[in-house]
């Protein structure tokens, strides 16, 4: 087995966590894993009650995201499985991935956030629909703030008076998360938090 990022041979050390399948076997080598820089910040927002981000958006992370999303390397979905599972090891909150527009999903051939959750064996509910194909990364802050809500609730789904946790790959200005939280709250969610893999500066 080679590291999925640098192709170096992986040195696997047996442990009881691995044996009991509490942890997944690491897909990347120690050097690559060390190159990602943790931030572990929790931020509050007027709509999203709490946003937790795990990593900074440094150069190795930029490369990872590029290879995963744009070079479409689905195998990389599991690279942060252990970290995501640790972060989401919570009782009965409901996990909701930020969806892609169906057309975009076909173009990319997979939905990256869902793939990350699946690879981490985290159960989730597909509650949201993305209404347009606009790409956040191409917009200015003003344009983002002026947008109409990007999401709607999937017809026939039941939003309870509970806590929902939104999952996205990257948190930049928070527009995406705020839009998603707004529709969930309007549909009856009591509290909406979010966990993102990366916190980017804007």
């Amino acid at each position: 087995m080679n590291c999925l990022l640098c192709e170096q041979k992986l040195a696997s050390s047996p442990s009881w966590q691995l044996l009991l399948a509490i942890e997944n076997t690491s897909l990347i080598c120690e050097d690559c894993s060390k190159s990602f820089e943790r931030v572990d910040i929790k931020e509050e927002d007027d709509v999203v009650d709490q946003v937790t981000s795990i990593y900074t958006y440094n150069e190795p992370m930029r490369e990872y995201l590029h290879q995963f999303k744009f070079l479409q390397d689905v195998a990389l979905a599991g690279v942060f499985a252990n970290e995501l599972r640790t972060e989401l090891a919570r009782k009965d909150d409901i996990i909701v991935p930020i969806p892609m527009h169906p057309q975009k999903k076909i173009e990319r051939t997979f939905a990256h956030v869902e793939e990350m959750l699946t690879a981490a064996r985290i159960p989730f509910e597909d509650l949201l629909i993305k209404k347009n194909t606009e790409v956040m990364g191409e917009k200015t802050r003003e344009e983002r703030l002026a947008m109409r809500n990007l999401f709607s609730i999937k017809p026939g789904s039941d939003v309870k008076n509970k806590t929902y946790i939104l999952i996205d790959d990257i948190y930049t200005t928070g527009t995406t998360l705020r839009h998603a939280a707004t529709v969930l709250k309007e549909a009856g969610a009591e509290r909406v938090e979010a966990v993102t893999l990366i916190r980017a500066e804007r």
């Binding site: 087995m1 070079l71 390397d73 195998a75 999903k105 076909i106 997979f110």
Partner: protein, 459 residues
């Protein structure tokens, strides 16, 4: 009756194997040529059932068959399990539902008028090797030029390449490392001023012309198929080519069926040498172009160097050697086996002279530092094996720290020594192997250099 089409599409696609969705031409034009039968579509990944419900996959672009280099996932486009190849991922993903296209229409015709502007003359050794290579090409047989570092290998290729070009043939020079391609490009452009030349490497933009002479990293040949009448592989023993079966296949796939692949190297592997003796021809040059012998390595023990450097102390012998070079104003290269150790040593060397720098493969200022060494703005560099070949600096002195490390195999040590004494003005120099115990590789490297200097060769 054939409809007129954009000849640029033919010129671009001929000999290439390309992603249908990523051509630099409008979709409608490609579709029209598909209907006319000038372009053929090939499946991206070929999957065959294998035992125990497993599947065997083959990537039709890079011909990778290693099952660990494929990933299968649930594809939203083809709505089912879809497999993609991770081997050639960086050139745009090829998956089960990806379409590759190849040119099947009439072939472009290449000009036969080419000037050779190179003014030098070949030494008798070079001339002989060059003639032998032409003879092999005429027989469509593979040829190995086994010539010591600094014997002028590139020049040997000029006459055979010129002959092929004037016959209207298409030629490729491939090398595993981009540095080698970057070094070759200006030399070949100068030598063949009337020829359409294209250099392909990661990040280079392909020209839309029908280039008759293509310089490419071996990786780029994943994208070619039955394109060339001859491929010359320069530095055939360098990483990653020698350890990567898919790159070797890519080279074989890039030549037209029945056309030869030629090799050029100072340090052929035993495997290549014996293979070429069986199936092809070998020319050997054991003299440098200036006629002086190769520098013989000197072994100097440097016990526990790693521990000392990690503790923040440079071994005295290393300090002495460096100070000596500085005092004599001789440029120097010090090779390390590991980037981490080198970077720990860098500040210690800077205590001796603050201008000393280090370089490695992904160092942002790698090119600038090497240029600064050439310009004598830096007295010396610490380096990984990245500078082991292809670099010529007059009067450079070389030391290896940790010559016993596995990465320094016989070939690497001979190549490193090959940096020394390359120019006729400074035909000798220091070639020190600082070690923590002598390995077979070190002994073999020394034995081979001695043998070459006595006029013998490895057989």
């Amino acid at each position: 009756m054939t409809k007129p089409f954009n000849p640029a599409i033919r010129d671009f696609l001929d000999g290439r194997i390309w992603l249908r969705m990523h051509t630099p031409f409008p979709c409608e034009e490609i579709d029209a040529l598909l209907d006319a039968g000038d372009i053929q579509v090939i499946k991206g990944i070929e999957s065959k059932p294998s035992f125990l419900n497993q599947k065997r996959h083959l990537c039709n672009r890079c011909e990778n068959e290693d099952s660990t280099r494929f990933t299968t996932f649930n594809c939203a486009k083809c709505e089912g399990p879809c497999t993609y190849c991770r081997q050639c991922l960086k050139m745009g993903r090829v998956s089960s539902c990806t379409e590759l296209i190849i040119w099947k229409g009439e072939k472009p015709e290449y000009p036969t008028n080419h000037t050779i502007a190179w003014q030098g003359t070949l030494t008798p050794h070079q001339q002989k090797a060059s003639d032998e290579l032409i003879e092999s090409q005429n027989k469509r047989a593979s040829h190995l030029i086994y010539a010591v570092c600094g014997s002028g290998k590139t020049e040997i290729l000029f006459p055979p390449i010129h002959k092929l070009l004037t016959e209207g043939k298409r030629v490729c020079i491939a090398a595993p490392r981009v540095d080698v391609i970057l070094e070759l490009e200006p030399r070949l452009r100068a030598a063949f001023p009337d020829t359409k030349i294209e250099a392909l490497y990661g990040g280079a933009k392909p020209t839309m012309e029908a280039s008759q002479l293509v310089l490419a990293t071996t990786h780029q040949l994943y994208r070619f198929r039955h394109a060339f009448d001859a491929v010359f592989v320069d530095e055939a023993d360098a990483f990653p080519y020698k350890a990567d079966a898919t790159l070797q296949k890519a080279v074989q796939k890039a030549v037209k069926p029945g056309s030869p692949v030629h090799y050029v190297t100072a340090t052929p592997s035993d495997k290549l040498l014996s293979e070429m003796k069986k199936t092809g021809f070998v020319s050997i040059i054991n003299r440098r172009y200036h006629g002086h012998p190769l520098p013989v390595p000197k072994f100097i023990p440097l016990w526990n160097y790693e521990k000392q450097i990690r503790k923040g102390k440079l071994p005295q012998k290393l300090i002495d050697w460096t100070e000596n070079r500085l005092a004599r104003k001789e440029p120097f290269l010090i090779f390390f086996h590991h980037i981490g150790l080198m970077e720990e040593a860098e500040p210690l060397f800077q205590l001796i002279d603050p201008r000393i720098r280090s370089v490695h493969a992904s160092h942002p200022e790698r090119k600038e530092h090497v240029q600064a060494l050439r310009n004598k703005e830096l007295p010396g560099l610490l380096t990984t094996t990245i500078l082991e070949r292809g670099i010529t600096i007059p009067n450079v002195q070389v030391a290896v720290v940790g010559a016993e490390q596995q990465i320094f195999d016989k070939g690497a040590l001979i190549q490193i020594g090959g940096r020394v004494g390359r120019s006729a003005d400074y035909p000798t120099g220091e070639f020190i192997l600082f070690h923590n115990g002598i390995t077979y590789a070190m002994d073999e490297a020394k034995a081979e250099i001695d043998k070459l200097n006595k006029g013998g060769v490895r057989t």
